[in-house]
């Protein structure tokens, strides 16, 4: 008997997620994604998992265009509606949790139980942020008692397009970490372009498939895989990106990378969320708090005279 299998597995071709569609990279190139080395044993080379699209600066710029086009609709939708859309993402993920658990296990070298728990937490995190959409204005807004006959309100508004360097390290980074950076940004009405974790992009690319089948409008979330060193500077310097989340920037390409990206962001005075001092020590299972929700908001204060 030969050892040829009686049934050959069907591999998945992973693609980018831009503007609600699944393009291949304009580079026409891919890079190998392997299991985390810890899963292959201390000395072992990671086992081949799939070829991920090698996204380029052009892909990133296309994604920014898509994200910009989606700002008006997404920020204009009611908070109630955005909450339901985010909750819908959790619903869709629930049905595919085994797939994600397998991808997380391979990406981070974790056992089945731990990876399943991380995916469940990621689902719960969507639910948590779904509940925030129509409450954040109540904790971040204000009615201001000015000394004069004026009606004066401060309301939070989305910043616009947020460029995100997805977490590259830390416990649970490949999926729970990814969800933890995307969900708060879009909960408040921003749209995002995400540079996926370079070594572990598959859960991110699969998330695109879930978002496409949820009610998230095309362009609200855009996910690019590739070399962070190529993608992140494009996000940092892009004129039409309003804010930059550098969470994954340090681990991606050396300690100085985040500083260089922050300096590039200064040219357009982008709002920058700096990475943790030690991102590898980050545990994405801990409660997130509201910092990320508030980081990508502006405060608008409106004055109107009062009188008879």
């Amino acid at each position: 008997m030969s050892d040829i299998a009686t049934r050959l597995d069907v591999f998945k071709t992973y693609k980018l997620f831009v503007g609600g569609k699944f393009p291949r990279s304009e580079s026409g190139r891919v890079y190998e994604v392997t299991t985390a080395t810890s899963a292959a044993g201390a000395a072992g080379k990671g086992q081949w998992l799939a070829n991920a699209p090698l996204g380029t600066r052009k892909d990133t710029r296309d994604a920014v265009l898509a994200a910009r086009a989606a700002v008006k609709g997404w920020s204009g939708t009611t908070a109630y509606n955005r909450g339901q859309v985010l909750y819908r993402v959790a619903e869709m993920l629930q049905g595919r949790r085994e797939q994600f658990a397998a991808e997380v296990a391979a990406a981070e070298g974790l056992g089945a139980k731990k990876s399943a728990a991380l995916v469940e937490q990621a689902i719960d995190r969507w639910v948590w942020y779904a509940g925030w959409t129509d409450k954040v204005a109540q904790i971040a807004g204000a009615a201001n008692p000015v000394a004069g006959p004026y009606f004066n309100l401060s309301v939070p508004e989305p910043t616009g397009v947020v460029g995100i360097v997805a977490p590259q390290t830390g416990y649970g980074h490949s999926f729970l970490g990814l969800v933890s950076v995307i969900a708060p940004a879009i909960a408040t009405g921003n749209t995002v372009v995400v540079a996926a974790a370079e070594d572990a992009p598959l859960p991110a690319l699969s998330l695109g498939e879930v978002l496409a089948t949820s009610d998230v409008p095309g362009g609200v979330v855009n996910i690019i895989s590739g070399r962070t060193a190529d993608l992140a500077p494009t996000l940092a310097s892009h004129q039409d990106v309003n804010a930059l989340d550098l969470t994954g920037a340090i681990a991606a390409d050396g300690a100085g990378a985040a500083a260089v990206l922050e300096a590039a962001a200064a040219d357009t005075l982008k709002r920058v969320l700096r990475p943790a001092v030690d991102p590898s020590a980050q545990d994405w299972t801990t409660a997130p708090g509201v910092e990320r929700l508030l980081s990508f908001l502006e405060t608008k204060t409106v004055w109107h005279p009062m009188g008879q």
Partner: protein, 492 residues
């Protein structure tokens, strides 16, 4: 255009119906101005380690008022060290005690407000009417407001027991010297930080006078330090490694360079930068009130206001009527001696600023916009610029895109609300905007669509310590004022 010209010919040549007798305020009320000043470090006035001195002049007369020190790196070092040394005890003080210091300062400012108003007017060139009735009341209000937060920080919404950041480096502009000082120092001290503040090189006098107030209030030494100098001193201060927070108000270009300088440093940063605000007038707006709002929006403080309404967007159907009323009103503005209580428009702050205004208005003419200013006599000495409007301005003109920071209004038109929004948002800035219409639903719709940190509806240039102020886009980040203003000085 031809029609506008005709209208102009019908306008009175010299504005006022009545002549006013001069009502001069006494310069002596400013108190004694020393011939030279050092820095205020560690609770003492000290000499600079360097020998370079700058001069501050009265922009209305070009008379030198005083010499002051160009702060050196060594001076910065000393000031930051003093602030660091004071930080431990100051941040450990119960908030209720910090509050009392701030209340004392607020009270002393009220007691000495005439002195400070006159001194500010002399050093800055702004009319006494504004320093007396706007700047000083606002300065006191800012200290009162943040004094009350000092012992309530647990309830500010940043979690229990929020911590101060540390030593704050604060660099402020020359347009509202004392008010900007208050905006920076009051929340910093309330939250338990210590500060090193650098006033602008054309207006250091009131900050140095404020140092005396700190001494009268018995503020612990080193909690507030004032160092003087130009941009070099500011750059040395913001770059100092032992500074934990940088707050800057000024031009977008300097803000950009500070952001670049601080990249990777983990210093907390807040920026209040330039603006090119649209003041949008719809055809149903009450014309007289709108004209007052336009005048207040652009000619208040000689137009030296980052949130000035420097782009008038007027609905096409009422353009002629509005411009006629505006010109008639502008002809009544009194330009001249800042210490005269009747003066509406004082002196341009410096020769350099006058040159910039002159350059940009020349560009406006060169690019084809039509210039108009009321006839009025200007003093022979000092830096002056007539209130000026440009009509026929297109969005591509420099005077519609660049911040002029002077009494110069660019007039554009629109037909529909959508067009007004698109034109208003067509700038990299996003600090403020004005909307004039009687239609409430349209106000709310416009307020929602305008990309600006402050939207004034049927009013303009209103400020209050309880009310967050700050910009979108390249107008900077962070908010000053209100509960939001605490965040910049807390470790959250």
């Amino acid at each position: 255009m031809a029609k506008n010209k005709k209208t102009e010919a019908e306008l009175p040549k010299s504005g006022p119906l009545f002549d006013y007798a001069p009502a001069p305020e006494s310069p002596a009320a400013a108190g004694g101005i020393a011939t030279s000043y050092g820095h205020f470090i560690g609770g003492e006035f000290v000499d600079s380690s360097g020998s370079e001195a700058l001069k501050t002049v009265n922009p209305a007369t070009e008379q030198v008022l005083a010499e002051f020190a160009q702060g050196t790196e060594e001076d910065v070092e000393r000031a930051v060290k003093a602030a660091r040394k004071a930080f431990g005890d100051w941040s450990a003080l119960p908030g209720s005690e910090r509050a009392k210091y701030l209340y004392r300062i607020a009270r002393i400012i009220q007691e000495r407000s005439r002195e400070l108003a006159v001194l500010e007017s002399i050093d800055n060139g702004k009319p006494i009417k504004e320093t007396r009735d706007f700047d000083l009341p606002m300065v006191a209000a800012w200290f009162f407001y943040y004094a009350g937060w000092a012992d309530k920080l647990d309830y500010a919404g940043f979690g229990p027991n929020p911590r101060p950041v540390g030593v704050a480096a604060q660099v402020i502009p020359w347009n509202f010297p004392l008010m900007m000082l208050a905006w920076k120092i009051a929340p910093a001290l309330a939250t338990g930080n210590t500060v090193v503040l650098k006033p602008a090189e054309t207006t250091p006098l009131t900050a140095l006078r404020f140092a005396e107030i700190c001494r009268q209030a018995g503020l612990p030494e080193g909690v507030v330090n004032i160092i003087t100098g130009d941009g070099r001193t500011g750059a040395a201060l913001t770059a100092h490694p032992d500074v934990n927070k940088v707050a800057f108000t000024g031009s977008t270009n300097v803000g950009r360079s500070i952001a670049r300088q601080l990249a990777g440093s983990r210093k907390k940063l807040s920026l209040e930068l330039g603006g090119k605000a649209a003041n949008i007038v719809f055809d149903d707006a009450p014309i007289d009130q709108a004209v007052e709002g336009i005048v207040n929006g652009i000619f208040f403080n000689q137009g030296h206001v980052c949130c000035a309404g420097s782009r008038l967007l007027v609905q096409e159907s009422i353009q002629d009527e509005l411009l006629e009323a505006l010109k008639r009103r502008m002809a009544t503005l009194r330009v001249g001696d800042p210490l005269d209580k009747n003066t509406d428009i004082g002196a341009i702050n410096s020769a350099a600023q006058l040159a910039r205004i002159t350059e940009l208005t020349a560009a406006g003419e060169a690019e084809g916009a039509e210039r108009w200013a009321p006839a009025c006599d200007l003093p022979s000495a000092g830096y002056w610029f007539r209130p000026t409007i440009f009509t026929g301005v297109s969005q591509a003109h420099r005077i519609a895109q660049e911040e002029i920071f002077g009494p110069v209004l660019s007039v554009l038109t629109f037909r529909t609300p959508d067009e007004a929004v698109a034109k208003a948002n067509n700038t990299p800035f996003g600090l403020s905007a004005g909307v004039w219409t009687e239609k409430g639903s349209r106000i709310l719709w416009m307020a929602d669509k305008l990309k600006a940190g402050v939207v004034w509806a049927n009013t303009f240039n209103k400020f209050d310590p309880t009310s967050p102020f700050g910009g979108y886009k390249e107008s900077g980040y962070g908010r000053e004022g209100g509960r939001h203003g605490l965040e910049a000085y807390l470790d959250v």
